[in-house]
Symmetry: C2
Subunit: 416 residues, 2 copies
């Protein structure tokens, strides 16, 4: 393990994003940089999209004499002085070595490990902002759930980030509800990380012999639509601990947050997308009062279709055991079908006899359901591939959302 | 499919056992013999362990003028006249072609398909009673959940039945709660059936050439402890439809009860045993209030250990995808960890701070928890094999039951 060897330099870590999941992950990361001083610099920068907040009366931070309580304040100032993200993760004390920074460029400066935790719609814009302003040999981990499904193909957010920034980026996903993780309730998560053999000591046939000081490899990637991308990847200088599975585990694993590191980035990412579609079906079945057997049946078929989707569209680049063995697969599916947002809204839509978008409006406080969106995107993709019939559950969810099928038809539709 | 060909004879079906699961299965079987007249004789015999019952006042069958309501009556008479098993499956109307029979020997007479659905402790005794009194070329399906785990090895109930009777016996198991199935709420189940190639038309290298009229094969089986058994199996006369996967599906599949037939008898049987141990752990975690993430983590690790148990002790004779793909695997695990009896008692034991045997006493009305029993048996077996450490969750459940570990230690114990 790299951490046992003496290295002249340490990794500096930045977290990009500070919603409730972003802040929960930043808390973990800062706890671990503090407890692994041989590998990491203690201080962690967290980029916070600046906004004005007021500390409410009755808050444990409220003190009428404090300048922080004189009207609206910058969220970053409040986080840095109270060590609490009062807006997005209230009630949780953050480590003192975690620093909120309103400038994303400043937050990522000199960082060798970048942890991405942003809403889907801000990924590209944020990456464009920091492009060329990061350490060229930085490595990334995307904690952004799901994948980007278009009619033409599927791309992984970790790859989008990697391509824009010219770095390698892995993925973290699992059966994790941010608030439970923040409260240090025990859970597990999966990290997928599989860079070309560049940071390891083993010789790599892809390693460019062109330079003896800066090691470069051309990392080629073909996505589902067949588009080939070529990323020039720069090796980490040898005075840093190599960013390997052990180092990533040191950065994310906590006694209450168990990490397994695997190689299958596509599997880990895909699980986090498709399970939301299955959770909608499970919510409908529960809302219908069909009982636990029926719900288990829908989840079983959903898991099968996740495996099949991976096999069919990602082939050998995916390990289907990720779906059945890792937290990002079966465990995340189970959690999402127990009490996740997609499950709950689908269940309510049956109980109240209202369309799910109506429930979304009244229950989610302006937030959007990921499952309905993914169901539509996945269906567009499957239709284009001519494969709707091979994925009867994914297809049924889409058709029911569209009003072209009724929930009562699910059993006969998925029967085989 | 055999059912499309014209055969001179039809299969006669008997159900041995009439508890709530036995009666629910008998209902399905009788519905299917009635709707598949080309393959099956319509009338189905169900062996009922005779006892005296009284039709309660207020029952829909209560009529003070009826002879059936004059004091205690035979359960078989009540079932045959009211078409309801008022003792074990009250409120469910049974098909008129299902006949309760107090004599097991008479019930199985001339039957070519025997469906076993008995409590574990009655299997051997009942089989001994009918040994030599059944059609020699009968085939069996065991609906008895679980496996028989001893320190020395593991045997499947289907094999025990097959050995005693000298017939081939498959297994049915799945995410099925008897009362929900009886109410025709939709669920799925798995049948595993993999006899030597005797009933099929394909030539078999094992087929004995000794007789041209009665085809006989010697079916060898080595169990986990290495004990070899040899069953002389008699071929079905060719004027019967062969008992193949399609015929079994015709006998058990209903619009509300979806059957997948597979070959893996060991996997289907083992899933039904080990999931009860996992359900105890899930109940504890829920009782502790650790949240959905933690429960999903325990279930994930449980599923992994089920797969590993199969791989390690059954080797190539098991298909580990049974655990992750079939109703008898992951779906049954999910149902059992949602509201099954083992889950509920474990949860209550934490909430009430009482040992689980105390909860068992007060909550189960004299019935026994399968999960605690299996946890002990499995541990004895694992200890003998020197493999406790390789199955940390199964081992943790045993140790907590024994008072040698606390529930709080589960996360660190199963961490790897």
């Amino acid at each position: 393990m790299g951490s046992l060897l003496p290295y002249a330099r340490k990794h500096k870590v930045a977290v990009i994003g500070s919603g409730n999941w972003g802040t929960a992950i930043a808390k973990i990361v800062a706890e671990n940089t503090a407890s692994n001083p041989a590998i990491f610099e203690k201080d962690v920068q967290m980029w916070v999209y600046e906004e004005k907040v007021e500390i409410p009366k009755g808050s444990r931070h409220y003190d009428p004499a404090s300048p922080l309580c004189q009207g609206p304040q910058n969220l970053t100032d409040v986080i840095n002085q109270t060590h609490e993200n009062i807006k997005y993760l209230p009630g949780i004390t953050l480590p003192a070595n975690l620093h909120a920074n309103p400038s994303v460029v400043d937050a990522v400066k000199d960082s060798t490990i970048l942890v991405f935790n942003l809403p889907h719609q801000f990924i590209i814009k944020t990456c464009e902002q920091i492009k060329g302003k990061i350490v060229p040999y930085a490595r990334g981990i995307s904690c952004i759930k799901g994948v980007d499904v278009q009619e033409e193909g599927i791309s992984l957010f970790s790859e989008t980030i990697g391509k824009i920034l010219g770095i390698y980026c892995g993925a973290l996903s699992g059966a994790n509800i941010a608030s439970e993780v923040a409260q240090e309730k025990w859970s597990e998560s999966s990290i997928a990380y599989d860079p070309p053999h560049l940071d390891s000591k083993a010789p790599s046939p892809n390693r460019s012999p062109s330079s003896s000081t800066v090691d470069v490899v051309h990392f080629e990637h073909k996505d589902v639509s067949g588009q080939l991308s070529r990323v020039k990847l720069q090796a980490l200088p040898s005075d840093y601990p190599p960013v390997d599975h052990a180092v990533l585990k040191s950065l994310f694993h906590r006694p209450y947050f168990h990490i397994r590191v695997v190689h299958d980035v596509a599997g880990v990412s895909l699980g986090g997308a498709l399970k939301n579609v299955v959770a909608i079906a499970a919510g409908w079945v529960e809302g219908m009062g069909w009982g636990d057997n029926a719900k288990a049946a829908v989840m079983r078929v959903g898991l099968l279709e996740m495996v099949k989707f991976g096999e069919k569209f990602f082939g050998a680049t995916i390990n289907t055991r990720t779906f059945t063995e890792e937290s990002a697969g079966v465990a995340d599916l189970i959690t999402s079908c127990s009490g996740g947002r997609n499950f709950r809204c689908a269940k309510l839509s049956v109980e109240r006899k209202q369309p799910i978008w109506k429930i979304e409006e009244t229950e989610l406080n302006g937030q959007k359901l990921q499952g309905t969106l993914t169901a539509h995107e996945v269906n567009k993709f499957l239709k284009k591939q001519g494969c709707e019939d091979e994925f009867p559950l994914l297809t049924a969810v889409y058709r029911i959302l569209e009003g072209d099928m009724s929930i009562e038809d699910i059993p006969s539709h998925i029967e085989r």
